[in-house]
Symmetry: C2
Subunit: 401 residues, 2 copies
């Protein structure tokens, strides 16, 4: 067992620095005296640290609070626009980016199509996107946070494997750091989205959360004690390629019967198309004939129209996901599970199927206390999560919105 380090003077200062900045961030505008009360630090320590933040521009004075007898105290808060972060979402069809301030507010966005590019060409698209956004950062750039598909070593920012982009051992973090001369943080996109989702767990919620992102692919993020859990090889949450169907369909990973083959948007659209072709006069059949292809909007329309065949396809996919959720419940007994991604937008009949199957396959003592909900509908989750992860590492801040 490795020896924990003793608490040195420098560590104590860094700890207290983070504590004061977080207090200004969470409670500001707030007086120095109130910060001292909230943190338990001495007024002298707090004043020294606050003054340093003021001269860095990270915090600013914003008038005086109510007097409690003596002189009215000066109030201080973090200046949300003192620094900005560039967040990137290297999505399947397009690379999206945003300039985000310290409060997690999006100031600028940009998007570039990927158009099937991969390897160095896809990397060039990343560079162009950041080039564009860097030019639009007001003031100081704190760093770049990236959410990308694949297995990512979040420690050094190397993408070990991203099959669609054909990236293998790509040191994206280092490349961006060298090119743009700012700190970078690279994480798997589902994990980044999960971290963004964690910020919206209600008051009094546990510090643990699992967010499962169901779209073209399926990936989860596990938040333990307020921090992303990466596992030993940065693959924790990679549930999309766990085999759950014996002799199942071929998966893009090269194996068979993975969760993605039965519960992703691809699985739903493939099953729906099959149903449509079998019954040309059905809702789905007519829709397919009219549009030449089916998308999740068509599925949503089928559900809204009360089409039974659409419902069957959606419920089947939801049940498969529910079985995977039951495994997570038994393994981790985390009470809050949030479903996000394009398939989650299908809403009720799908959610009910997930919940029902997860409960059916779980011990009542565990499943009965687990809340499974659909997360916020947001297409910015990866961008915001990646930006938040960078802020946590650089400043100890977790932006709420």
């Amino acid at each position: 067992m490795p020896l924990p380090a003793k608490a040195t003077h420098r560590q104590t200062r860094a700890h207290n620095q983070g504590l004061v900045l977080r207090t200004l961030y969470d409670h500001g505008p707030v007086s120095r005296a109130e910060v001292a009360r909230l943190t338990g630090l001495t007024r002298t320590t707090v004043s020294q640290l606050v003054n340093a933040f003021l001269s860095d521009g990270l915090a600013r004075e914003v008038g005086r609070g109510p007097s409690s007898g003596g002189k009215a105290p000066i109030l201080v808060q973090v200046d949300g626009d003192a620094r900005h972060v560039i967040g990137l979402d290297l999505g399947e069809r397009a690379f999206n980016g945003a300039v985000v301030n310290l409060h997690g507010e999006i100031r600028r966005t940009a998007s570039l199509p990927v158009g099937g590019r991969n390897g160095d060409e896809a990397l060039e698209v990343v560079y162009r996107l950041v080039d564009q956004l860097v030019g639009e950062v007001p003031g100081l750039l704190l760093g770049i946070g990236v959410g990308t598909p694949g297995i990512v070593d979040a420690g050094d920012g190397t993408i070990r494997w991203a099959v669609n982009l054909d990236w293998q051992d790509l040191p994206l973090g280092r490349l961006l750091r060298e090119r743009f001369a700012v700190p970078t943080y690279v994480a798997n996109d589902s994990r980044a989205a999960a971290f963004a989702e964690y910020r919206f767990a209600g008051e009094g919620a546990s510090a643990n959360l699992i967010a499962i992102r169901v779209g073209h692919g399926i990936g989860a993020g596990v938040v333990l004690g307020g921090e992303l859990f990466h596992g030993d090889g940065f693959g924790a949450g990679e549930i999309g390629h766990t085999g759950i169907v014996d002799d199942g369909k071929a998966c893009r990973c090269g194996r068979f019967g993975c969760l993605e083959t039965v519960a992703s948007s691809r699985a739903i659209l493939s099953d729906a198309t099959e149903a449509a072709e079998a019954t040309p006069d059905s809702f789905l059949g007519r829709r397919l004939a009219a549009h030449g292809t089916l998308d999740l909007e068509a599925i949503r329309a089928g559900l809204d129209a009360g089409d039974e065949s659409t419902r069957r396809v959606v419920v089947a996919a939801g049940r498969f996901l529910g079985a995977a959720v039951a495994s997570l419940i038994g393994a981790l007994n985390i009470h809050r599970i949030v479903l996000i991604g394009s398939v989650a937008a299908l809403g009720e009949p799908w959610l009910e199927a997930v919940r029902d199957e997860a409960a059916r396959r779980s011990l009542g003592m565990l499943g009965g206390r687990t809340r499974i909900d659909i997360g916020r509908a947001s297409t910015d989750e990866v961008v915001l999560g990646a930006a938040a992860l960078l802020m946590v590492r650089e400043l100890g801040l977790v932006p709420a919105r």
Copy 2:
């Protein structure tokens, strides 16, 4: 996000106290100067703390080390026999207990049959067992650690639900604390065994480990960063009742198709008995006729004799467990998975089936780096794990053997 407390003087002292005791424990016999070097604390602080341990009897001086020029330094080490812990394993057939010293050495053992008793009668057996062991503790009793089946609130030691013992919301920790006037720690038996197993991860091993205990029931323990992960409801690792077979057999939990119905020792013995009855002339058939019943020893004998029918039964059970292991790999990406319990003693053909199925159902990037092994063969794992958990909480020590 809750504010982390500032580091107070008292916390610093407690931290340094634990640090010095752990250093004496892991590195002793060791000089005060060496402790100062290892911990980074000042010699004065180390001397003060060591002297306190000496007067408590927790540590003792054991002669002098080699001189490096000046006076030869006095060496100090933790006195393993300065305190003892009573560890209990409330097993299916018998309640076993042991008196364990601070080095995890078993000094005395005792066992009482349960004989189908449950409720208050079973609680009486626990009392009698502790009564007996308390009388045999040499010197000071640090506390009592208990491993029990069921869902246990390890925070306050309440057994929320232990179906076989018919215990519901039984405050076992408090009852033992009041009766024997020492600290107690109550944990689920599989989790206690997992913690014991964690201690034997080799040098350089990750601080994360999953141990799966496969016997009459199936339960796992998840160790993260050197600590047991409990989940939000103390059910993390309760994988035995996750439904994995559609329209499966009835489980003792009241539901159908749970992992236990296909991968536990009961499942193996039930399938083997079925095979034996169908083919009276087979190895299993003759064994059944001779003994009237089959046990795991018979299964082991069948494997040793190269009996194909026995092998089929064992491999089928192993494959089901492998599928559950694949789920854990995807969810947690922990590289070290250890199999323990009576079924693990079956060894090779079973282990191979678990490994093969886990690999088949996992992403190569994850499964390929996961080591799945059979743990130490020990019937004391629950006792030692429960005792270790008590020592960690009371002294910050983790006994190695």
